[in-house]
Symmetry: C2
Subunit: 195 residues, 2 copies
């Protein structure tokens, strides 16, 4: 009943995500979103609510994709230590490969809005809690496989790797050399306690 939507919601969310990613939340205007999606205000408001609600939906889908990506890397068939290496290396390479060094949308959004928008903070918290859990599990696997010191605290190592990951993300935005970013990731792993 009624007239059907004339656009694909996921596709619109992708275009909107690009805008927020390129300019940040406050600096992207409704006009930017309209031109990026080709939609009018009526459609945007009807389908997603106001600017803030639309932004949160972008963050939700982004978080889901991020967690899925990390999970894929950290639960592959290779040895656990190798999976951890792959994660850090692909993060460093990925951040460096982006010509505009945009970094991670969730990180940028958190940095911009954390002191004014609890809903953004809550999404950041669940995202990185999720990544932390995946890392800890993978560290535990590496201990079971005999590649890391079984006496070490897996939570401590997982959190350390999470911090290094975020550090690489930020330093990429300061235009640090790609080789230096990679060096940091490899250094973090090479100094984990061995059995």
């Amino acid at each position: 009943m009624g007239r059907p939507r004339n656009f694909d919601e996921n596709q619109v969310l992708e275009s909107v995500r690009e805008q927020f990613w390129n300019r940040g939340y406050a600096a992207t205007s409704l006009q930017d979103l309209m031109t990026a999606t080709g939609l009018g205000k009526g459609s945007l408001y009807g389908a997603f609510g106001d600017k803030h609600q639309l932004f949160l939906q972008v963050l939700d889908s982004y978080r889901d994709e991020q967690l899925t990506g990390v999970r894929q890397i950290l639960t592959g068939p290779d040895p656990a230590l190798q999976r951890l290496t792959l994660l850090l290396e692909s993060a460093a390479n990925g951040f460096a490969a982006d010509a505009h060094r945009r970094g991670c949308l969730m990180v940028n959004s958190t940095s911009e809005l954390h002191s004014q928008d609890p809903e953004v903070v809550s999404r950041a918290r669940t995202t990185y809690q999720g990544v932390e859990d995946l890392l800890i599990t993978c560290v535990r696997d590496a201990q079971l496989e005999g590649d890391l010191d079984p006496g070490a605290d897996p939570q401590e190592l997982g959190r350390l790797l999470l911090a290094v990951l975020q550090g690489i993300e930020f330093l990429a935005k300061t235009n640090m050399d790609a080789s230096a970013l990679l060096q940091i990731g490899r250094a973090a792993l090479s100094h984990l306690p061995r059995p």
Copy 2:
């Protein structure tokens, strides 16, 4: 000659910094800056130029203070390894102690503006290049003092510590527990290669 300034420039820069720190660049309006400083537009524009120029001056003074603070910690009389510990611990404690978890102004500004404002990126780059240099020197000292493996690459270790520092800064903004932040800093140091 002429009427003298009716305010202290450094004091005004401090008030302005607080505003930018609390709300970010795009979200603080000229009105915010006027009420925060008690000055009119004429005075603000006359003394500091437009909003963007004023912001850059805030970043400059902030960078100087940051580098001075880090230098003070990393060149103290204690053993070098202990100085490194002090830096990471005071960073973790400092970020956690802020009730609003505002993080570092330079980091927040970089995350918000790096893809639109090369002048901000350049300030971030010099800031963290400076911190990196200080860290590398301190690592080298620790090697000379026999507390770290003299065969390790000091640049690699310094950069790793820089990344951990930035990681802690970010995770603080996601409301990670203060104890977890501290744990990360200590873990990073405890797993550095010993002689």
